[in-house]
Point group: C2
Chain length 495, copies 2
Amino acid sequence: MELAIALDFQSQTPLHQQLYEALQRAILQGILPPRYRLPSTRSLAKSLGISRNTVTQSYDRLLGEGYLATVAGSGTYVSDRLPEEFLQAKAVDPPLSAMRSPHSLSEYGERLAKNELALQPEPDVAINFRYGTPNLDLFPVKLWRKLLSRHCCGGREWLDYARDFRGYAPLREAIAGYLGRSRAVKCNPEQILLTNGTQQAVNLILRVLFVRGEAIAVEDPGYLSAKRIFASYDADIIPIPVDASGLVVEKLGDREAKLVYVTPSHQFPTGAILSLSRRLALLQWAQQTGGLIIEDDYDSEFRYGERPIPALQGLNGGNSVLYIGTFSKVLFPSLRIGYLVLPEHLVEVFLRAKWLCDRQLSTLDQYVLTDFIEEGHLESHIRKMRSHYDKLRQTLVKALEEFFGDRVTIFGEKAGIHLMAKFHFPLRDEEVISRAESVGVGLMSARVHYLDACDRGEFIFGYGELSEEQIWEGIEKLAVAIHVVKVGITHLGIH
Amino acid sequence: MELAIALDFQSQTPLHQQLYEALQRAILQGILPPRYRLPSTRSLAKSLGISRNTVTQSYDRLLGEGYLATVAGSGTYVSDRLPEEFLQAKAVDPPLSAMRSPHSLSEYGERLAKNELALQPEPDVAINFRYGTPNLDLFPVKLWRKLLSRHCCGGREWLDYARDFRGYAPLREAIAGYLGRSRAVKCNPEQILLTNGTQQAVNLILRVLFVRGEAIAVEDPGYLSAKRIFASYDADIIPIPVDASGLVVEKLGDREAKLVYVTPSHQFPTGAILSLSRRLALLQWAQQTGGLIIEDDYDSEFRYGERPIPALQGLNGGNSVLYIGTFSKVLFPSLRIGYLVLPEHLVEVFLRAKWLCDRQLSTLDQYVLTDFIEEGHLESHIRKMRSHYDKLRQTLVKALEEFFGDRVTIFGEKAGIHLMAKFHFPLRDEEVISRAESVGVGLMSARVHYLDACDRGEFIFGYGELSEEQIWEGIEKLAVAIHVVKVGITHLGIH
């Protein structure tokens, strides 16, 4: 370990004095922490290009003053008992706030600096109906570890830069096969670009295709994180309403939107499944206007009792569709692998954008995921989780009906790992959330996902990571907190 | 495994016929590959919401025609011996090229689509003096696997979304400590934002700070990948010359550059180390003009015999400096962890940009790297590699001198894992490269890193991943290929 110390060989100050001051300062600032072992005088002298005697002089003075201590036969260490007066001398540099001028931001930076883009911390509650998180206790961690060990071994190919900038070819093949079988996506592996999650995929789409001043049509209500990205590009966002069959495609009319963002398998947040006739109409819209469809097929894996509707991408050969997906919810969120299925003529330019952006994904993770899919674990894990979530979903529906009766309407429970509930009582959303939090229940209003942000009494109930007991207890506590417990409904006169 | 098949319940075509056609098509297109096991008639009927009899009818016809085969007691499979005429029917869909109109790109997309941004494949040679790749055979893979296994186990926190959007806090602490000790970087862990490599860090800087029309000063010659990113943002790139002490800061004058990009530890590609007086002058320039310095401190870990010069970031409290680094070259390239040390007032907006961009890095990799640093493996690995690279470097210098004598001048050999050699003989760079390739030696001209792209006879010799034998052999072969073998110099009359 070498220490980076600046010595000025032209200075009037002797080198041993300079070195003494530099080390003292490093110790006081905690850069050299207590019990830190210093290099030997010989090696420090060598690395600084000064005489050993100079280093010894400096060390001796610091030893004498108590900054350093020696341990016989082991070396010289930073003292762990610094006199108090030394420690009070910590603020040696001018504080950062004393800087000359803050630097100007780009327009993008200015938009990000606005408060509405601040990231909110999670509430600290025992039972959190947050959405988007799968059950992680049932993830086959041992199997994943076995696959990691299999590939984290000899052979340096996995350590090196990737040769294929689209992503690891066998993984793209495995994904193409999986998407073809389960979602009727029609693509060859060369059309797949692996991304660092779907958020990167959406960003790449905007970066490569979006021209300032163009419009992007979105579902209203619709996924906030996607709209945040669109807003960060200063897009003209056109809200299109959603009903029980998903996006009301007629309302798109001949709006000149460059892009339309849809979540057809489980509309976020209402949970509606986009009907086949609407899908065909949407593709027709794209053909007629030259628009492109961003098909975020999240939650397509979790369907309960309904027959799967093929992805938009596969219904017209994929020419108007940018299909995106991720393994975050099917496997685990901290695995940073998503995918973007592109029309062939866009592959090369997206590839360059991805490369410029951050070069590549972790190779090891790609190897592991390839085996996980090819050995059939992905599909068996999805089956297992689907039946697990189905039970949770039924419990949640039952609990909501039990405790809220006709004061609740449930939407979107036929797919995914969240549903939406609309409450029929005169409480503002904030009041519901704050009462819920006071009894340890975390709840999210659907309001932030509407562009006009009205109070509608709609809440998103994510159930993926909860147990049946927690779901029941959470809904019961919620009902008590807002005084609609079954026994009390008529008693309190709420209707 | 469910199959996504679109059935039209309003159609005149019977359902069994629709299902037969859909399955036939999937088999012919390879979506259902040979030996693929189909779902049972009962489960497919259930998932499609049709009668079991309908499915049986379709299956029977496909069995009769040889598309499917049954294995007693095991189920129904796609036949692995499809009659040849079936396989010739593959092109069922209109080709993608028949699409209506290509979609227009953003200005960024248009710039990327230009040919000069095409990504070049690696040459296929036995001895490749490519730069930027460390020796991967000496990486302690077993240790890394042990750490992966330690953290890839029970406890679901690592699987979930990250709570800290800056990156895992203990890793940021470990990096702050390491940078303080080895590079005299002064920062608290809150100023560190972890990124998906340095390329993402540079992109984030441009995204958040760069305003169209502003200028970015760069070293000339300088790192092509960084300039590609600047060009992708349509920046006005100002070349500033480089000499044996690095960037010639005087030449910056009072140029109104918003940003200046420097590689002070080992200037890319010349290998010059930016002198302390130039560092102080550069900081003064930033103070006076309000400019910001992007300090890409790559190769700072590998210095041979020189005393380390503290990072620019630490010399003025870091107010004008955006310090970037990565573990790609110190550990391995496919590990996607880099860092960006920010002035305090910029942290929040960069954090939001990173979150919007791709949320987070792999948590498991961050856990592993934290232990790797905290347990001292990083610093001992760097020591080991420094002494390894030192030997390679000496061999390379010796070989170049041995085979090229006074026809070569060597630059930048005092740090890093590449050096630059200027040849003094009248051959064009392309000719040198193509002769080298013909004897299995990969070589890169420094020319692409100059903004004016003159022929200077300068080549970059990366030696990180080669052995001493390969280096010697590669230089000898190169000398033979361009007819300057020692014995032949006067004989061939080249001078």
